[in-house]
Amino acid sequence: MSVQEKLAAARSGNSAKPAGEPSPAVAASTAPAPAGPPKTMSVKEKLAAARAGGTTKHAPKPATADQTDAPPAASPAVGAMSVTEKLAAARAGGAGRPAPAPAATSAAPAAKPGGMSVKQKLAAARGVATAPETATVETASSPTPVPAQVPTAAPRVLPPLAEMTDPRDLAEALRRAGAKKDQEAAARPAVATSAAAAAVPARPRREDVLGERPDRSQVRVDRRGLFVYATWWVVVGWLAFAAALALLSAMMIRYLFPNADAEPPSTVKVGLPTDYEPGDVSERFKDQWGFWIVRNVDDRGRDVIYALQTYCTHLGCPPSWLPGEQKFKCPCHGSGFYKDGANFEGPAPRPLERYKIGLADDGQIVVDKGQTFRKDLDQWSDPDSFLAV
């Protein structure tokens, strides 16, 4: 007689009388008769009755199993009953109860031989009435102890994991899960054997799984769950990132082709040639346009007007026109230029540059900043570089 039987017997008040040799045939047929007097009922009967009472309320699957009374596998002897069956029984018993956790926990120590998937174990630990494969394996008259009444194996009553508030509960649950994992690891070779394969449970149906889908806080417990969950989030995240990047790139490329060209016009009319006295250096256009208009006598004795760029050829500082000394002088490094733009002192390596100059149809002078003329390249003889008056 197994311990469970003894315990069950003790519970039912027949502690003194052992339950004799268990007969496997009893269970299935007599299960739906819970009303029998305790004295005459065997332990198995009592258990079956208890289970039936519990399962019929809530969980449909075990109930149907009970009703059909046709387990595909032959009802095993009590001693030969597989762990899966025992657990299924325990789970079925717990399904209708308000505090189902003890059922699972009490079953846990008995789970040594293995044959149970991790998911099942977890489901058991969670105490949720999933009733997975039990529909097929259910043996109504299994002698599994009625969990709620087992006094020794469940020292601690754990609420469902999701509702846990006491950290000690959580620790306990973790400890048990760890113990189970160890056992499973120890029993793995056994699983591979055909004996275990005989009891391979059918896959749980999808709606059942959905019904107990772990919420976010439980994802951590099940790594495969995490993987499954992460996948589509990752895809969505990368898609969003790629979209944002593409949008940003498009904006940047678009930025390179502005709608309006803010470049100021390169040509400007600076008035009639007669506006400039001989020898004048006009600073009117220095600030906005960056050139001086100079009327001067050139090397060949011609009276010419030209536009000198206001950037020092040394490092680009703007020189100042000093009328007293009749020269341009750079404040940065002291380069000096004559009125015709030729450098004569300081570090500037070459003369100031001239802009293109010409006459418009209305007789005004037009300066075009789009073209420059350098003396060191002999460009000052170009007719566009000066305007003969």
Partner: protein, 528 residues
Amino acid sequence: MHQDVTPEVLAGLAWYYLLASALNAAASGYVAYHEMVAEGASREGLAPRTRRFPEWLSLAVVGLYGAALVTVPFRWLLPGGLTVAYGLASLANGLLALTAGADAAHFAEVHGSSGTQADETAGGGPSLDDHVPAVGLGGPINRTLWSLVWSVVAVVFQAIGLTYFFKGPLILPRFVRAGVDYAAGPTTVFLGATLLFAAVVAFRRVFAGGLVAFGIVDLALLAFGLSLTDADFREIVAKPDNVPIVGLIVLVAGFTWFALRRAVINDARREADLPVLEALEPDKVLTWPDLVYTELICMVALTLFLIVWAVVLPAPLEQPAKATEAPNPSKAPWYFLGLQEMLVYFDPWLAGVAFPSLIILGLCAIPYIDANKEGSGYYTIAARPFAYVVFLFGFLVLWIVLIVLGTFLRGPNWNFFGPYERWEPHKVVPLNNVDLSDLVWVRALGRAKPSWALLREAPGLALLAFYLLALPPVLLRTVFQDYRARAGLTRSLTTVVLLLMMAALPLKMILRWTLNLKYVIAIPGFNI
């Protein structure tokens, strides 16, 4: 508009000379009372001192300065409070200086009469009274004499300060200023700095002595104080931009002198087969508290200093930036003014890119081309004169002097102005420069320059080829023969080329000043 002295300037100068006087009074007290033990000397065997700083004197000086410090913030309570404070402080200076001088004379008398007083030396051995400077710095000094000298200087400075305080317009004579301005020029400044540097290195034993150094400090204080009476000088020196340079001069001079002094002492000690000063120091000190305390104190002091500086000297913001108008003069940050000065003499790519890169590369190369194993871990000049002179010439003359020149002596249009000269934007300085090709073809040969660029620049190209290709082998066979034997061809060649590059700057400057030479080679885009 430019007044040489205003009441504010006079008041400032009065306090300036008060501090100068305090410095000299402290020096007098140091020489008179302090147990002076020279660097590297041991106290062992020296009889106890006969000199003590009188307690009443310390009480009096601290009390007078304290009273002056208290009076300054409460001067609104007391009419003429500032005068009272100044009087108290100057009284403390005079008291300290005169008492120190008198006591020094007294100690000398007691010491000379070989002792009748209780705390004197017993026996005829040397005592802490007899100050013998460190090895290499000359014989014993006459403490009485030097205490009296610094006392007199302190009293004179205090008298000058009092003159300014009572509005005595003591200003630098005009002819002195005119003379200095006349003599000043880039040439004089650069050559003067070079000569001064050579003199300091040559007569380093003289300069390393504390008395000579302090005398130079006094002269500098006097010269600076007198120069401050000139409005133009004051305007440039007191500009918030330029104040760091004044501090930089003091710091550079101080640290250079300190290193020079240690080197002179070490050299003399090595000659006398004594361990160098650094060997006498303990090898290791504790991180806590020695290092951490020092760092903490430095941190606090520096923070305080920076805060005071930031409050007292506001940031020198100028007019809003404008693309077509540059401030005149347009100056780089002070630490770049040496480079900006180089830009006057060289093409931008050379002075702005090539030379700075070469400076950095050359500094990086020093550890690899240095074949001299002497002088590691201690100051010395005699063991490595070449390294010392070359490095300090590059740092002091070619960098610091150029910064000072660019800061104080370059005015509008980058013209040179004397220290007391008005920054006149219309000053006309003839800067007509000619290229080497002009000199050769036009002036020497009396013909027109060839139009073909390579022929036109042939003299410059030849000169460059000589300088960079012919000179290194010649130098390696003559001056650097020993170095080449020690260091090998690669290192010695690198050293010589780097040296020639370094020498190119002063050479080009001299050519500019003497021949108005603009470029040796003037090919557009490649000017040297």
